[in-house]
């Protein structure tokens, strides 16, 4: 047996926009074991339930993360709405769905850019982020924000979107789709890119399921688990199938995410076609929440859970958020076993890590 050594990876590393630390136990160039450490940016947001009432907690939830902020506000609001038995108006449900899918578009494009940057394809990285700007522009036009949107509320949404703007969204999405076709080609067919991704970090379906993985990281191993299938928001009125791949390697994860962007465009178009042309966007919230509920939603990075326990006062007892990256850490540790040291940055990226979400 070769001599083992331990190489620290992170918390500061060029592929890591946020801090996570891994102790890589090495035998020559092979990783034998990886031990993760988090906690560098823990903010204790869940503890703010003591100081913020259940309506204000929507804003706190949105601040868990700068990429999936809309989803966090949505998941928390839906949990409280279930406790209070509130039925959100149809137009608000469709707009929530449109924004959720726009979040998926911008999150996946951000990730594709980071991946291209990690394997040194700078022009591709720029192209992905340039296209992502269109999604952010659409957010800015419809919600007023590019990172934190503050458009979600318990009982509905705060802002309506005009028909003219929705028509403009339709055209922009068609244009983005054409551009994405060109951008996705090098990711899926370029020889150099495939050399870095094919067969790297394979996770079988059995492993992914046993380790409780989530999102594209799970579906790339062949498991068609997509929480949108439960029909929350307006997903029950939309035709779509979970996107899966069977190889379970880094290439499969990339392919899944690219296909999910195309699918998001299709879902947004369906929403614009099917949503009621006018109507209420919120219902009045009466009384205080009393009870508990676990809400599941499909964030861009995977399934997120929102547990809310309320006691009949304006301050809830507990808000707990289980984010997809938190669930995917175990899968990451498994994929790192046996890989080359040079593949570690790519593998860390393929779970699409969001450490702000993880630490809350």
């Amino acid at each position: 047996m070769s001599t083992r050594s331990v190489i620290p990876f992170g918390p500061q590393h060029p592929v890591l926009p946020e801090p996570i630390h891994l102790d890589l136990v090495m035998e020559d160039e092979k990783v034998v074991e990886a031990i993760p450490s988090i906690g560098f940016i823990h903010r204790g947001l869940e503890k703010l339930v003591d100081k913020k009432d259940f309506n204000e907690m929507v804003y706190v939830a949105e601040r868990i993360c700068g990429i999936c902020s809309l989803g966090h506000g949505l998941g928390y609001s839906e949990a409280v709405e279930h406790i209070m038995d509130i039925e959100v108006p149809a137009r608000a449900r469709f707009l929530r769905t449109i924004w959720s899918e726009l979040s998926r578009v911008h999150s996946h494009l951000l990730w594709l850019g980071l991946l291209a940057d990690a394997f040194g394809f700078e022009s591709l990285y720029m192209d992905c982020w340039r296209l992502r700007e269109d999604a952010l522009d659409m957010f800015e036009a419809s919600t007023g924000g590019r990172v934190i949107f503050s458009v979600m509320k318990v009982g509905g949404i705060r802002r309506d979107v005009s028909d003219e703007m929705l028509k403009d969204f339709y055209q922009r999405i068609n244009r983005m789709e054409e551009e994405l076709k060109a951008i996705s080609k090098p990711f899926l067919t370029d020889m150099a890119v495939q050399t870095r991704l094919r067969g790297v970090g394979v996770l079988t379906a059995e492993q992914a399921d046993a380790l409780g993985c989530a999102g594209p990281f799970l579906r790339a191993s062949g498991i068609a688990r997509d929480i949108r299938s439960t029909g929350y928001c307006a997903y029950g009125d939309i035709d779509f199938e979970p996107i899966i791949s069977t190889e379970g390697d880094s290439y499969a994860r990339t392919e899944c995410r690219i296909k999910e962007i195309f699918q998001a465009f299709d879902i947004i178009r369906q929403c614009i076609d099917k949503m009621p042309k006018d109507g209420e966007i919120e219902v009045p919230v009466k009384g205080m929440p009393n009870g508990e509920y676990m809400m599941r939603i499909e964030q861009p990075r995977g399934e997120a859970l929102y547990y809310v326990k309320a006691n009949g006062t304006k301050f809830i007892d507990r808000m707990r958020v289980r984010t997809p990256t938190f669930a995917n850490l175990s899968g990451l540790v498994e994929t790192l076993k046996g890989c080359d040291l040079a593949d570690v940055p790519i593998l860390v990226l393929t779970i699409d890590p969001c450490i702000s979400c993880t630490e809350r």
Partner: protein, 110 residues
């Protein structure tokens, strides 16, 4: 979506988890909530889109067995419950011993 909470004793958590494992459930999350003189623990398990949730009331001075021998990925949730709430969990497979989160004060959610 079924989000019913099934109440179980702290002593039977290993048995209950084992049963769910045999039935094909994966671990979705574990979390703690502070209640007077005790903790309320929620363990969520999923199978496809179905969910089963176990609720355990654990007295403050009592230990609970780790389920990492059944679900190895539970280590991250159990370390979190220990670090933030001070829940005493024995036999975690990867035990960070209070160092998973770097908090300014010990067990801030206790």
């Amino acid at each position: 979506m079924n989000t019913e909470f099934i109440t179980v004793n702290p002593e039977s958590i290993i048995d209950e988890s084992q049963k769910l494992k045999f039935q094909g459930y994966h671990l979705m999350q574990q979390c703690a909530t502070r209640i007077p003189d005790a903790y309320e623990l929620i363990y969520s398990f999923g199978k496809d889109l179905e969910v089963k949730q176990l609720k355990i009331t654990l007295p403050e001075d009592q230990e609970i067995s780790s389920i990492t021998s059944i679900y190895p990925c539970a280590f991250i949730y159990e370390n979190e419950m220990h670090d933030l709430f001070g829940v005493q969990i024995k036999m975690i497979n990867i035990d960070f011993e209070g160092k998973l989160y770097r908090t300014a004060i010990e067990t801030p959610f206790k």
